[in-house]
């Protein structure tokens, strides 16, 4: 709760700092502030608090994901000044928007009321629309922003519609009340289920699951790389976490049809994402498709929602840290010149072995190769899914993992086997730090999976 306020306040401080010409101090202050909020969040573990008439509820789940979001944001903000060095004047905006985005994300995991959820998701989305279109002179950025905005707003309509239907069926926006109503009145009116489905669709859109994924590659490609990093890590994680929380708090006993829908979407996402990623030449676009396939993997948590929050946290954290590390390298290689074709990475293994190694590690993690946490994430996931007896979907997931190696390795091959085509650029220190820290977190999670899993032990 205090985290939410602190971060919102931090965002405002940022904007004020700009007014007082404290531009240099913005990033350090923000990072310190975020570390402070992290410290504020940690005590929430092991408790269950309700605030503002149950608008906000904090528990282990929200605390854990909030921590993850904050850490991700710290990384993203650390990357900001170097990325936007051409637009120093707008630094505070970029930082503040990211902070607001973080606020939205946190709201999405600690809501106790659908209103809060809706606000969270909208804060997050609007901040992202802005970020996606944050290069107004760049047509690609415009297009990305436009596409994202149009489709996002469209999806918001569905979420809202779903909320309205649920409200109609239960007479409340409070999740615990709704849950109570479900237990009392069986069967629920038909539109309750439709409402759930509508909300799910909105969230499936946010996590870019097939067939609601079409925006993702275009928007990832068109947006400034840092925004893409944000989208592919923070946003995706927040959306899936919110989705999970929503479904578990509204609909613990998911009916079979719903599971069928989720499994079909999951399979489609994995397959379409991976197979299309194979033929991409733009790294951001490739990671967008890879993100789509990971969304498919993440959706598998719904097969066993009671036991999987830990797994979801682990999976998302592993994915996000690998993603941050990868994007830190992409930023250092491509800068903000808007060209992220694979050939830019040629010869990176010689030019900058450290960054090449980091990118390799993060790609290996995404591909699910031990000892990176991506592997453990997949393992825990498969373990949970198999314990519910869904062998077929695990086999499909395995096949997809195999395909995914194909395109992750394309990048690795480019780094190590091709001669460099462009001259060496100095890598900003911050990029290196973020990349290394992030991949270190990833590997550390792989070495001590119990720590992360233990955060959400039931």
């Amino acid at each position: 709760m205090y985290t939410l306020i602190a971060i919102a306040g931090l965002g405002i401080i940022c904007l004020i700092a700009e007014i007082f010409n404290l531009r240099k101090a913005i990033v350090p202050i923000t990072i310190l502030g975020l570390l402070g909020s992290l410290a504020l969040t940690v005590p929430d573990f092991g408790h269950y608090y309700r605030y503002f008439n149950s608008m906000v509820i904090t528990n282990n789940f929200s605390a854990a994901f909030s921590c993850l979001f904050i850490i991700l944001t710290i990384f993203l903000i650390a990357l900001t000044p170097d990325f936007h060095k051409e637009h120093k004047a707008k630094l505070s905006d970029f930082v503040a928007i990211k902070l607001f985005l973080l606020t939205g994300a946190i709201a999405m995991v600690c809501f106790g009321n659908l209103a809060m959820f809706f606000l969270g998701i909208e804060i997050l989305s609007i901040a992202l629309y802005v970020l996606a279109a944050s290069q107004p002179k760049n047509l690609k950025s415009n297009e990305a922003g436009m596409k994202y905005f149009l489709m996002g707003a469209f999806a918001s309509g569905f979420i809202l519609f779903g909320i309205a239907l649920i409200y109609g069926a239960t007479g409340s926006f409070d999740t615990s009340v709704i849950y109570g109503k479900i237990l009392e009145n069986q069967p629920m009116p038909a539109w309750y289920f439709i409402g759930i489905v509508m909300m799910s669709i909105g969230l499936l859109f946010k996590i870019a699951a097939v067939p609601f994924h079409f925006w993702a590659p275009d928007v990832y490609e068109g947006s400034p790389a840092l925004t893409t990093a944000t989208m592919s890590t923070l946003t995706k994680v927040a959306a899936i976490a919110a989705f999970f929380k929503l479904m578990t708090s509204l609909n613990l006993t998911v009916p079979g049809t719903y599971i069928t829908i989720i499994s079909i979407v999951s399979i489609l996402s994995m397959t379409v994402g991976n197979i299309t990623a194979l033929v991409q030449t733009n790294v951001k676009r490739m990671l967008a498709f890879s993100g789509i396939s990971h969304a498919g993997f993440m959706l598998m948590v719904f097969f066993n929602p009671i036991e999987t929050p830990g797994t979801l946290l682990y999976y998302t954290a592993a994915y996000a840290f690998a993603g941050i590390a990868a994007f830190a390298v992409i930023l250092s290689v491509c800068g903000d010149k808007g060209n992220e074709e694979v050939y830019n990475f040629n010869g990176l293994g010689k030019r900058n072995p450290l960054m090449a190694a980091v990118l390799t590690c993060s790609l290996l993690s995404m591909a699910g190769i031990p000892i990176f946490s991506g592997f453990f994430a997949k393992f825990f996931l498969f373990n949970q899914v198999l314990s519910t007896g869904h062998v077929a979907i695990v086999i499909i997931a395995i096949l997809n993992s195999i395909v995914s190696v194909g395109y992750y390795f394309k990048l690795i091959l480019a780094m190590y086997t091709k001669e460099a085509t462009s001259e060496v650029q100095p890598t900003p220190v911050m990029y290196t730090i973020v990349a290394v820290l992030s991949i270190a977190l990833n590997i550390a999670m792989g070495l001590q999976p119990d720590f992360v899993l233990g955060l959400l032990k039931i």
């Binding site: 802005v130 047509l139 436009m146 309509g157 809202l160 409200y167 409340s172």
Partner: protein
């Protein structure tokens, strides 16, 4: 208040707003002008608002109406951002036909 709902029936409100929502959807689908698309999206949101209000009355519960305010505020913010993007697009392309935004693909 009860009478109105008793007279007309909650189902009809649902049908109406669903219809409105669908009008919005089709608007988004058919129109190529970004502004019109925005407006269609607004229709969708307003359809929902209508539904919320109807349910609020149905349930004799004010929160639904409060929610409408939230949603209106959000819609406003959204449109503000959307228009800003639109302006940027217009500056680059000199029109706002979304069919011209096809550079990112594949």
């Amino acid at each position: 208040m009860e009478n109105i709902l008793q007279q007309i029936g909650i189902e009809n409100y649902i049908y109406l707003s669903t219809l409105l929502f669908c009008v919005g959807i089709f608007g988004v689908l058919y129109r190529r002008n970004a502004i019109v698309m925005f407006m269609s999206i607004e229709i969708m949101l307003n359809a929902v608002n209508l539904l919320l209000v109807a349910f609020s009355t149905y349930h004799q519960d004010a929160t639904g109406q409060v929610f409408v305010f939230f949603s209106m505020a959000v819609a406003a913010a959204e449109v503000a951002v959307g228009l800003a993007i639109l302006v940027a697009v217009y500056r680059n392309l000199n029109n706002i036909d979304i069919d011209n935004l096809k550079n990112l693909k594949g």
